[in-house]
Amino acid sequence: MQLSWLLRGIRTGVLTTRYPSTKESMPDRWRGVVELDPERCRVEASAAPCVASCPSAALRLEGSGVATEPERLVFDPLACVACGRCVEVCPAGALRMTARFELARLDHPRGSAVG
């Protein structure tokens, strides 16, 4: 009986990959890092539904300090749980889920996009 396991193991062969030296890709629907396109963002004209829909407060509005300037949308990738709600509710299509999944790094600067 032990021999049958051995044979099965040999038949299966090596399935593990050489990641990270070999790149892996995620499926099309993968919810990885959220990407914000500031050019398309019309947060000042809308009620910021993305901010309201975010369950983990990863999106927030931030003023520049100048009263006449509109608030801008700030995304904190460390707080993001990649649920995709913000992408669904964005009326301008400024947010999208990407297939990027490699989030670990030693120096995450808070409040900036994952680099």
Partner: protein, 515 residues
């Protein structure tokens, strides 16, 4: 015992006869009976005798405006395919008669009420904090409640930090030679206060939280929560979404049962078999990622339906992959069944008696392994399972081998259910759009949702206050229900080296129990 029935200031607006502590049930099949807590023991026995009712939950909350605490005891009635809840309100920091002497299963639940709400169940056989509800320090959790050991008796501490990927649990195993003669289990290390957190967020985000109670039960918990919310808001889920949810739930069962077999093989040192089962699990997780964009299907089930549909190409992918996984599970199951070294370690190990399974209201594969013929998919049907009557695997011996056979059989049944569901989905047109639903719950109401997860029955109680916000979110996880049985089983004629096998053969979730 002190019973308090506070005056209801909104009684004239709502229902003159309905006090504030008695919410309206929005779930068809859930009856909420007002009953003084002093009569609960008598009523519980009556329900069990007359209707074959099964104890499911006992919990406190919400805390009412005058400080009194609502108490609820929930029963499932499989023979009637419905639910009965007993409800009362008691004054803060008061006492109520313990049900544990007549209803053994109530033990841990009463201790949780004691720990969380400060209500004292008088007559409880060993009242002390359970440690699963926060507010208990690590030092207190580690304090062993065993009497001092005498000469020749060794107390073997284990955890809470352990090797490998095993979650955090702390055990004190008392041994005489090889045999475990007593054991204490201390949970609570994964407590995140999810039930409290739920009352601070928007209710339509509740399933996101429910999915994170325990990653490997994500669909079961997300589904139970979504169903409860749908009842509260009066939403209808269309047939296609319901079948898609079934596919997700059964895929979760398939990958979790494969993981179970892998971990059991690891416990007995059958490493090639472990890797083979892990391959099955990994392929199932990758299929989940292709379906939902998440390996544990987070975000797939939504109140009102599902977040994303599956087109014909993806359904074909599901069919081919699941058919292949089923073939692998059948082949591996036969090989494991024929492995003498593996089976020798499982047979007779960690045996649960039928009396304990019934008395402690155990659920899922742990209960079915000792002949408790109960599966919510058949006996309390919900969603697409209604009318399907899926086959239920049963065993008699209640040991680790029986639990492994149950999980093996259920994995194959899960694959069959997915294949049948995919055939149904392929015959349907894709809906034009996902329903756009807005959260508008009924105030002062209860929605009950449940799902048969891979570990058993997950039950979610969502209760709204009079402002329409969630006032109480209660999760009775299958793992919580089964941990009581696990603690009882360890010292029952087992030796120290049986411990990892008993633990893996129960296959419970620490995070799920701790919430």
């Amino acid at each position: 015992m002190t019973s308090a029935r506070p005056p209801d200031p909104t009684a004239t607006r709502r229902d003159a006869a309905r006090p504030v502590w008695l919410p309206t049930s929005t779930t068809s099949g859930l009856t909420i009976e007002p009953a003084p807590v002093a009569r609960w023991a008598e009523r519980a026995l009556e329900l069990r005798r007359l209707d074959g009712s099964v104890f499911v939950d006992l919990f406190g909350g919400p805390i009412l405006a005058d400080g009194s605490v609502a108490l609820t005891m929930l029963f499932a009635r499989p023979d009637h395919h419905d639910w009965v809840a007993l409800r009362d309100a008691v004054a803060p920091r008061s006492t109520f008669p313990s049900l544990s002497p007549v209803l053994e299963a109530a033990d841990w639940y009463e201790r949780e009420v004691f720990e969380t709400f400060g209500l004292i169940p008088t007559g409880h056989p060993h009242l002390r904090p359970l440690g699963v509800s926060g507010g208990t320090t690590a030092d207190e959790l580690l304090r062993t409640p065993l009497d001092p050991a005498s000469v020749g008796v060794v107390d073997y501490p284990l955890g809470p930090v352990r090797s490998g990927i095993v979650e955090s649990g702390h055990y004190t195993l008392r041994t005489v030679g090889e045999e475990i003669v007593d054991a204490r289990l201390q949970l609570g290390w994964k407590h995140r206060g999810i039930e409290t957190l739920a009352t601070t967020i928007d209710a339509d985000q509740l399933p996101l939280l429910a999915e994170r109670i325990s990653g490997t039960d994500a669909v079961a918990n997300g589904l139970a929560c979504a169903v409860a919310l749908e009842d509260l808001a009066g939403w209808h889920v269309d047939e296609r979404a319901s079948v898609l949810r079934l596919v997700a739930a059964e895929l979760e069962r398939l990958h979790d049962h494969a993981a179970f077999q892998a971990e059991l093989c690891q416990a007995t040192g059958l490493v090639v078999a472990q890797s083979q089962f892990e391959i099955v699990r990994e392929r199932a997780l990758r299929l989940a990622a292709r379906i939902a964009g998440h390996r544990y299907l987070f975000g797939f089930v939504r109140p009102g339906g599902v977040s994303i549909d599956l087109d014909a190409a993806l359904l074909d992918d599901v069919r081919r992959t699941v058919a292949s996984l089923k073939g692998d599970m059948v082949g591996l199951g036969a090989m494991v069944a024929g492995s003498g070294s593996h089976q020798d370690r499982l047979r007779g190990t960690g045996a649960v008696s039928e009396a304990d399974a019934l008395g402690l209201a155990l659920t899922g594969p742990v209960a079915r392994a000792v002949g408790v013929d109960l599966d919510a998919r058949r006996d309390l049907p919900y969603e697409a399972y209604a009318g399907l009557r899926p086959p239920v695997a049963l065993e008699r011996h209640g040991d680790a081998a029986a639990r492994a056979r149950i999980r093996q059989a259920e994995a194959v049944i899960a694959a069959d259910l997915i294949l049948t569901a995919v055939d149904r989905l392929l015959g349907q047109a894709l809906p034009a759009s996902r329903p756009d639903v807005r959260w508008a719950p009924r105030p002062g109401s209860v929605g009950l949702g449940w799902a048969e997860g891979s570990r058993g029955l997950e039950v979610h109680w969502v209760e709204t206050g009079h402002d329409g916000r969630v006032a109480r979110y209660r999760v009775r996880s299958a793992s919580f229900a089964c941990w009581q049985g696990f603690a009882r089983t360890i010292p029952a004629r087992n030796i120290l080296t049986d411990f990892p096998i008993i633990e893996q053969s129960f296959g419970l979730s620490y995070a799920g129990g701790d919430r």
